[in-house]
Structure formats: C-alpha cells, structure tokens
Symmetry: C2
Subunit: 242 residues, 2 copies
C-alpha cells in the first residue's frame, strides 16, 4: 500500500480547507482546461483514479455518464464523497490505484486529477489502463508538472538580479521527492514529461493533447498571488486515446 497522507488528521484538515476541496471543480483553476480535453460524457463508463471527495464523479454523472467508479485510498475522503452522492450511477471503492482488480475493457474513459504523481510505476499504470479501456477509449489526467516536482528545494527564490526564480535542479533524476506540503514527509514521484508521454506511446496510446497549465490573465487579476505561476507551470494535463 502506498503512503496514505490523506487520512492523516492534520493533512486531511489542511487539505479540506483548500479551495478545490471546499468548492469542488469550481475551485480547481485548471478544471476548464482539463474539461476541454474530455470527450462528451453521454453514455460513458468512467473510472476516476484518486477520486477524492467525488467532485468529478458527480459532474460526470450529471453530464450523462452511464456509470462512474471512483477509486481512492483515503477512507475519510470516500466517506465524505459517499455522503454527498446519493446517485445510483456512482460507486466508490477503497483501494490502491496501482493494484486495480477490475475487468478488461470495462471503461470508455479513465480520468485522474492530481493523483498519478504519487504512483511509482507509470508505465505499468498505462498498461493497466490500456487493459481496462475499450478500443478507442480515452485516458485524460493531470499531475503536478515535472518542473514543479523536480527540485531539491521547491520554493520561490530571488536571484542576484532580484528576479523571481524557480530553483530547478535534478529534472532528469526521476524518483521520489520528499516535501513538506501541509505536513512534512509527503512523498511524490518525480518523472519527466518524456516519461509521461513515451509511456503512453509505448502502450499504444495516441496523444490527443498536452497542456502545461498556468493561470490566465483574468485568473491572475482575481488571484494576484498566482502571478508567479507563469514562471513555471504547476500542472501537466495530458489527453490520450487508444
């Protein structure tokens, strides 16, 4: 079982205060971009890896998905998701997304938001997802951007010319990164954009879109503290198809 930070009471309390936790998809600034990469939901069988509080599952069901299965390893998040979802089209399952015991070709869309940078072996994940998808099936996901996960000391610095800089290093050294995020000791798995893309291509996926998300000028006007995000994208969004 991988690290389950989300059921740590301190982490859960902190995470629950985030805009995206309180407001769901509307509180996730990258959601409009990610949504634009999704196929029409009507009639789809959808698998959501790392479904958290179930915001996407509810949206997909409202948009006409035939069935949504959300998988997450956090009991607390699933309990809250279940309490908010009296929808017979949605099911939640407690489990490790790296060990999915699900039938072949059972889904038309696999979706994942900001979960896959926790898993160790993305190539194996792609092989599993290929198995779970129907021919022509979609895989759309977001992760923390590799530029964001790479550094030994991730945090803004000011250089000798007074410019704001993101202190990038170890970009090509893939592997775990232990950071403080809400609580100390959070382990993320850094991998390059090339590894994300080529792992998909190696499993027969066709890339349909790649986005390095940063806030729009309108979003920065509304949230001035996001202005630095233009220096390095916080999120990588990828759309792929079998």
């Amino acid at each position: 079982m991988p690290q389950n930070i989300y059921d740590n009471p301190e982490f859960f309390a902190g995470y629950s205060q985030f805009l995206r936790s309180r407001e769901g998809l509307a509180g996730a600034p990258e959601w409009p971009t990610l949504r634009s990469m999704l196929p029409p939901m009507t009639g789809l069988r959808v698998l959501d890896l790392g479904c958290g509080f179930g915001a996407f599952a509810r949206w997909a069901s409202e948009m006409g998905a035939a069935h949504v299965l959300g998988v997450d390893l956090s009991e607390k998040m699933l309990a809250q998701a279940r309490s908010q979802t009296p929808d017979p089209n949605i099911a939640y399952r407690l489990g490790d997304i790296e060990r999915l015991d699900l039938p072949d070709a059972a889904f038309d869309l696999v979706y994942s938001s900001l979960a896959l940078h926790y898993i160790k072996n993305f190539g194996r994940m792609c092989a599993t997802i290929r198995r779970l998808l129907t021919p022509g099936g979609h895989f759309v996901f977001s992760v923390e951007h590799p530029i964001y996960t790479a550094p030994r000391n991730p945090g803004w610095q000011t250089d000798p010319t007074d410019a704001t800089i993101w202190p990038l290093n170890d970009y090509l050294r893939e592997g775990p990164r232990v950071t403080e995020w809400i609580t100390p000791g959070v382990v993320k798995q850094h991998r390059t954009i090339a590894t994300y893309v080529d792992s998909l291509l190696d499993q027969g996926f066709r890339l349909t879109r790649l986005e390095e998300w940063g806030p729009s000028p309108e979003q920065i006007a509304e949230h001035p503290d996001w202005a630095n995000e233009v220096h390095r994208p916080p999120f990588l969004l990828i759309g792929a198809r079998l």
Copy 2:
C-alpha cells in the same frame, strides 16, 4: 529574413570551434538518441531544415536516402557544406526555412537539428511541413529545450543551500529571448513543450516520440563538465508522423 547570426564572422569563428562543428554528428552528444527516432533512410526523399555544414545530409545519403535537400540561411555554412559534399544525391539551397518555396508532397522525411527555436511561428511551420510531406511522412527534430530557453538570466546559479540550480522563470511567457551565445544579441524564440506538441497535433501529426535529452552516465564520465545537464535538459527531441 530572420536574424542570420551564423554569417557574423565572430559568431562563425566561435561556432566553427564547437565539437559538433568540427566532428559533425559524432560531436553531437544527442545524435544517437535523435538517430534512434528516425525511420530507415533507404529510398527516402529528405529535407533538412537548417542543414548547416551538411553533416546530416551526408549521413542520410550514405544511409541510402534517394535525395537530400539541405536549406540554410548561412552562406558560409553552405559554402563549407558544398565543399565537403561531392554527392549528386545532395543539394543545398540558401534560404529562409520559414519561407520554403517547395512543391507539395515532395518529401518523406523532414529533419531539423537545433534550428526551429529560431523561427517565430511554429504552427505555420507545422502546416508547411504537412504540405511538403507525403502521407505517412516523418518529421523528426531537435530544439533547445524550453526549460533552457525560458529564463531571463540563463546560467547556472548556486542557491542559499549551495545547491546548483537553473534559475527558471517566464516559462509560460512565449516569445523572443535575447541572449549572449558566442556573441551578444542572439535571438531565440521560446515556446513551451505544450506548444511544440499541440502545434503538431493540430496539423494532424501523430506523436511518435518525445525525448528530453541529457547526457548518459558514460558521457558524463567522459565529459565531467556536462554533469550539470542532469539538472535541466538542454535539448528537446520530437518524432512525429502524418
């Protein structure tokens, strides 16, 4: 006509001293990776955008290409290329790679090494290359990596913890970057990985490979001064197909 730094005597003299200028493909450490992304040359009609001294054109012809056309805006480089290439399968043309006056569907492979980060409009370039290629044709190229071209002050720094860092900023701000490279005032066009990839997809290309090149441990052992390159990839290599 874009900036032609290569015919500046001082730049040309400096550039001519580079390992890759003196030794051709053998002096380009990313060449083995780029070569692995190419289709077999036998019988191909090849267009090389920014052919420089003609090292790739000679290699492609030796490997069985039916015809190679190299285009470059540097008279000095083409003069040297012509003097080294008494090969009837190779032709060189002085010109701007952003204004190619060539017939439709005349090539099976468009290749470009470290030239396309000088052009302003990569989307228009992709549209032109689609027009020049036959169905199923290949487009394989390398550029300076966007992490490399982005910063206002590109150069290694040491952070307060004594870590070597690449001072990344302005990654999401696309456009010209004026740097000192051999001579002052060299203008490169920064664009994101997403723009490179999505411009290809928008023109109907299928991505076949994406590499963020850095030196191998063997290459670092031979060239210890390359060790920092692991902190940020210097080159982005992309393979695509119609």
